[in-house]
Symmetry: C2
Subunit: 191 residues, 2 copies
């Protein structure tokens, strides 16, 4: 997706260790017009999978998942990392390593909003190692729901996430694919 | 706003101690179409204040702030509760009590995205005690920015937030106003 790639080219910054800083338009400050365009494109790519719900993880998955769900006309559930007091005692919970926090975090979904038989489209900001997304897959499976697609804004192929998810046999779409980051240079697929 | 009030009437639940559960359409599962309508209405109410940026707090402020910012054509910044490694060492940080977590949380904004001279519209899901919003006001003031309006989806008048914010002298708008919750009964303003 040209629009997002150009934005990353202009404002993205490689901080070292495979960390791409996109805090100016995705992760801390958000450009809602860009995020709407990304959601529209992800919705177009997944229009055929028959999803009944979008699932993401707080925090930075919320914006792209919300706009994707909006364009698909579906509800979106974001897995919580801490259990709020409004949640029932019995929950679906799994652990996933957080790339940017350097520790394991909990991913928690209330059974009220993830039911057996649902067809789940997982949306997140990054496809890196795939660890967070695999956590979301486990939550969906624990609920008896079926994952029917995985979509992200930015894929970093050198972290192997696509291979880690391939056994699921579902379509995986990323709007921008980055194959390497060397010093200040961000290399996009096909360049 | 009729649409949101009816949704609360149907699906909102008073859990006691002034906690209103809206996890089915705002706080855990989100209805993107409803959230878009709320953002459109908040944008309409604040069209005249000349805001240059929308500011909110993760996590549940993100959805209404994103849609409001979209309809105003502005960027949105969400204050983080933990500092990600992508953030510079020098940040704006304040403490605010979390209603649903029962403890103090940090609210952190990078100086990269909150600058002197900005005109800040604060958007959040709830106006309860006003403590989180006052935290966001402090962050804006620390940056030398000016708060020009405060908008929320749901105001609980019995927690006094509007009074706590009145010294700011800025317009405060809530889409739905709840004056009392007694047992299972949720009382809306004007009823």
């Amino acid at each position: 997706m040209e629009l997002l790639r150009e934005r990353i080219r202009k404002e993205g910054r490689h901080l070292g260790n495979g960390i791409l800083k996109v805090d100016g338009f995705i992760n801390h400050q958000v450009d809602p017009t860009l995020m709407d365009a990304c959601g529209r494109e992800l919705a177009r790519r997944f229009a055929h999978v028959g999803a009944t719900k979008v699932l993401t993880a707080e925090i930075s998955g919320i914006a792209p998942a919300l706009t994707t769900a909006f364009h698909l006309g579906l509800p979106v559930v974001y897995a919580r990392k801490t259990r709020p007091i409004t949640m029932p005692d019995q929950v679906f919970l799994t652990l996933a390593p957080s790339h940017t926090k350097g520790r394991m975090v909990e991913l928690i979904v209330s059974p009220e909003y993830l039911a057996s038989g649902e067809r789940i489209l997982i949306i997140d900001d990054f496809l890196a190692t795939g660890a967070t997304i695999l956590g979301l897959v486990r939550l969906a499976q624990a609920a008896g729901a079926q994952v029917v697609g995985i979509g992200t804004l930015i894929e970093k192929t050198f972290e192997g996430g696509r291979a880690a998810l391939s056994h699921l046999g579902v379509p995986i779409e990323s709007l921008v694919v980055i194959t390497a980051m060397e010093g200040e240079r961000i290399v996009f697929a096909g360049e």
